[in-house]
């Protein structure tokens, strides 16, 4: 039994934490919040430099050939730093679409640029509404909505429905003819969104031959696990911020942190975070080993981490009192991020449902 990260992985995490502390103080997060750029460039550069983007990519595709565990601990640090980067969309989702649905040639063409951070891509998951149509001439017609990092990504992957009823994974280049993008306001402006209109847009069909639904499943599992690491990091940070505040702030002659109601509130957050932590770590193990437990473990991580981050953000803000309700406090960054991450892959009902389906299937 070794339910822990290795010393090397912990050291890697420590390096990423230090790099993000330098490259992405909150002032950088707030620049993105105020609309200055699609992400915090120094944070993204730091991740690329630390090898995070290349971590779990095979060496033949320009990666480091490490495991998803390295990527996971880095995602936890991204969440902790609140760093606005395209790590989740480009490395968490798009890269996995290419690996699972792309032909060897497509993988060879696209993976190195993604792994090296030279280009970014995103995925329109299309969990709601109708899929775009794929015409025989290789063009697509339709709309994609709420695509994360959709305005800045150089390519968007999505599923489209061909005339024969088959669903295919496709890639559209951002500035190509017939692909019109517009910014959509996000509840968390540090996680920007876009709407994409496809009008006879030339697309490239991913030709690896994998079943589109199976690919989606795999991408969702990886996405859920990596996002859960971000949520875990964010929740730990929200707790840490609240702890600092209640130690600093005084009321009625005492530190606010000396009041039992406040102590117990923070302990309830801590308990939720530690409960989430073990599920999140477990999901990384399941993802890395492609264990039969993966569907349950990924769903468990997503639900527990969404709940922990929601509680930490909401009650951490409450612990700040009136100051927590100001723009100047960082509390709303967590309040927004917690909600955004809890929704982007489908809500907590959807994932409880997946969890129980998995449990029943393996009962």
């Amino acid at each position: 039994m070794d339910f822990d990260f290795s010393d090397e992985q912990k050291m890697f995490r420590e390096e990423v934490r230090k790099a993000l502390a330098r490259a992405c103080p909150v002032v950088e997060v707030r620049k993105v919040l105020e609309g200055q750029g699609p992400w915090a460039a120094p944070a993204w550069d730091a991740l690329v430099e630390q090898g995070v983007t290349a971590a779990d990519v095979a060496e033949e595709h320009g990666g480091l050939g490490l495991s998803v565990l390295e990527l996971a601990v880095a995602a936890e640090e991204v969440g902790y730093a609140l760093a606005p980067t395209p790590l989740f969309t480009s490395i968490g989702l798009a890269l996995e679409v290419v690996r699972r649905a792309g032909s060897p040639a497509q993988q060879a063409a696209w993976l190195p640029a993604l792994a090296q951070g030279a280009a970014t891509a995103t995925v329109a998951l299309g969990l709601h509404g109708v899929l775009p149509c794929l015409a025989a001439n290789g063009t697509a017609e339709g709309e994609l909505t709420a695509v994360p990092d959709g305005l800045s990504a150089e390519a968007v992957f999505f599923r489209a429905l061909a005339a024969d009823g088959q669903v295919h994974w496709c890639r559209v280049t951002a500035n190509s003819a017939g692909c019109e993008r517009r910014a959509q306001d996000s509840i968390d402006p540090t996680r920007p969104l876009a709407g994409v209109k496809l009008r006879q847009a030339s697309v490239e069909v991913l030709a690896g031959g994998a079943d589109a639904a199976t690919v989606l499943q795999g991408v969702l599992h990886r996405g859920a696990v990596l996002l859960a690491f971000e949520q875990l990091g964010g929740a730990a940070r929200a707790l840490e911020d609240a702890r600092k505040y209640v130690l600093d702030r005084r009321a009625f002659g005492k530190q606010v942190g000396a009041y039992q109601a406040m102590k117990h509130k923070l302990v309830d957050i801590y308990t939720a975070v530690e409960l989430a932590r073990v599920h999140v770590y477990y999901s990384a193990w399941a993802l890395q080993t492609n264990a039969p437990e993966l569907p349950v473990a990924a769903a468990g991580a997503r639900v527990a981490a969404s709940q922990a981050y929601t509680l930490a953000a909401q009650e951490g803000l409450q612990a700040h009192g009136g100051f927590g309700f100001t723009w100047a406090a960082d509390c709303h960054l967590h309040y927004r991020r917690a909600r955004w991450t809890a929704l982007i892959l489908g809500n907590v009902h959807d994932w409880r449902e997946k969890l129980v389906s998995g449990l029943v299937a393996t009962a």
Binding site: L125, L127, H128, T145, A146, P148, Q184, D185, S186, I187, D188, R191, L193, R250, A251, F252, G253, K254, Y259, A261, M262, Q314, L317, Q318, G321, G322, F323, G324, F325, T326, W327, A328, A329, C331, H332, Y335, R339, W340, L343, I344, L345, G346, N347, V348, H349, D350
Partner: protein
């Protein structure tokens, strides 16, 4: 037990309703909020105009004394008007602080000449009041006031220096009630004094506070050598604490009890077909009904007491806690219903999404403003359940000697 009006109240309600029908458009849906998309100055101008019209028709100051232009009516009539007004698309809430908190304090405690000077203009709505109580270091611990008022021995005036926060309508107010520390050598609660402040005098700077949501409904107010005549003291010098306590009661009641009756209809509407098909959504609808209908019933209970000339029961203090919880759940519910599209800002979606997201932030304010959930729980524990107060380590110590 019944929910109908007594004959005289029914008559009054008919009268009110007729006037409202003649003077304002009905809301198209219960959650419609007037003036959401108007610039602030337009909203304020419209609110002033609406108050003036109500005043002229005898509805602007229903339960205030006739002497100052009020209608000399019962509190219950005032409640009837509010209930009916809530069905119309008109500017409300702008005068909550003015007429709900400041003027009642003046009426109770100010000198006759102040009442003569101020009350009618406030009731008409031409002069708006704000409350300069909270400070950065005096939130839950409201008596921790650092703003100083020092007497200029020659002129007999007070000179005021300090900073106030969370002031509603400070930009639009003509007058304010302000609390300042007049004697720091007394214990915390004993050296405070309440003043009437002319918001137009030199030395007052108003700056909007940007909230978590990005909006700015409140202000901070900086006071630098603001000169106030000694005649503007309300009550006694160094006797301000009891005035503050009285006004807090007004404030908490008004924050907790202001939800429309059929809010659960909105929950249902938001859920759409899933209120029929999804058992998990149905459970959340039921939980929200229990809170929203419960709040309405609690206010009906309080109103019953008011209609009998009694004070509402102590249980009405719970309403603020329930309201905060309800609004937060309501917001999460509305956002969850969108699934992965719930990450879109409301304006990318529709009116309902905007409402949920407004509540998503608004509920934070309800849980903090006018006493945090934790402070309200303390109050209920001590005043209603009679549990022992916190051990107070700052008791009897001169304010200036307290650790900060």
């Amino acid at each position: 037990m019944h929910f109908e009006d007594q004959p005289q109240d029914a008559e009054y309600r008919t009268h009110v309703r007729a006037w409202l029908e003649a003077n304002a458009p009905r809301k198209t849906r219960p959650d419609e909020t007037w003036g959401l998309h108007l610039p602030e100055d337009d909203r304020v101008a419209a609110a002033r105009e609406w108050q003036r019209r109500k005043f002229d028709a005898g509805f602007g100051a229903i339960a205030f004394p006739r002497k100052y232009g009020g209608a000399g009516g019962r509190a219950y009539e005032s409640a009837i008007f509010q209930q009916e007004e809530a069905n119309f698309s008109v500017p409300v809430a702008f005068y909550n602080i003015s007429l709900g908190v400041c003027i009642p304090s003046l009426l109770a405690l100010a000198r006759p000449e102040h009442k003569e000077r101020h009350v009618r203009a406030a009731l008409e709505g031409t002069e708006v009041w704000c409350q300069l109580y909270s400070e950065p270091a005096a939130g839950s611990d409201l008596a921790g006031i650092l703003t100083r008022a020092e007497r200029d021995a020659d002129a007999g005036d007070f000179i005021i220096n300090g900073q106030k926060v969370w002031t509603t309508h400070a930009r639009h107010a003509s007058w304010a009630l302000l609390v300042a520390r007049t004697d720091a050598s007394k214990p915390k609660h004993e050296g405070l004094t309440v003043f009437i402040i002319d918001m137009k005098v030199p030395g007052i700077t108003v700056r909007p506070i940007r909230q978590a949501s990005g909006e700015a409904d409140f202000n901070e107010v900086f006071l630098t050598d603001v000169r106030v005549p000694a005649a503007n003291v309300i009550g006694e010098v160094d006797g301000g604490w009891k005035i503050i306590v009285a006004s807090l009661v007004h404030e908490r009641v008004s924050i907790g009890g202001a939800l429309p009756r059929d809010l659960h209809r909105m929950t249902l509407e938001m859920a759409g077909d899933r209120a029929n098909t999804d058992a998990r959504i149905r459970e959340r609808v039921a939980d929200q009904y229990l809170m929203s209908q419960g709040l309405w019933l609690m206010s009906a209970r309080a109103l019953t007491a008011v209609s009998k000339g009694q004070a509402p029961g102590p249980e009405s203090i719970c309403a603020k806690i329930i309201a905060g919880r309800f609004l937060q759940d309501f917001a999460y519910f509305g956002m969850d219903l969108r699934g992965s599209e719930g990450v879109l800002a409301g304006r990318e979606l529709d009116e309902a999404a905007m409402t949920s997201q407004r509540m998503w932030f608004g509920s934070l304010a309800v849980r903090i403003a006018g006493g945090t959930d934790e402070i309200v729980r303390n109050t209920i524990a001590e005043r209603v359940l009679g549990l022992p107060p916190e051990v107070r380590i700052d008791k009897g110590i001169p304010f200036k000697d307290l650790a900060r």
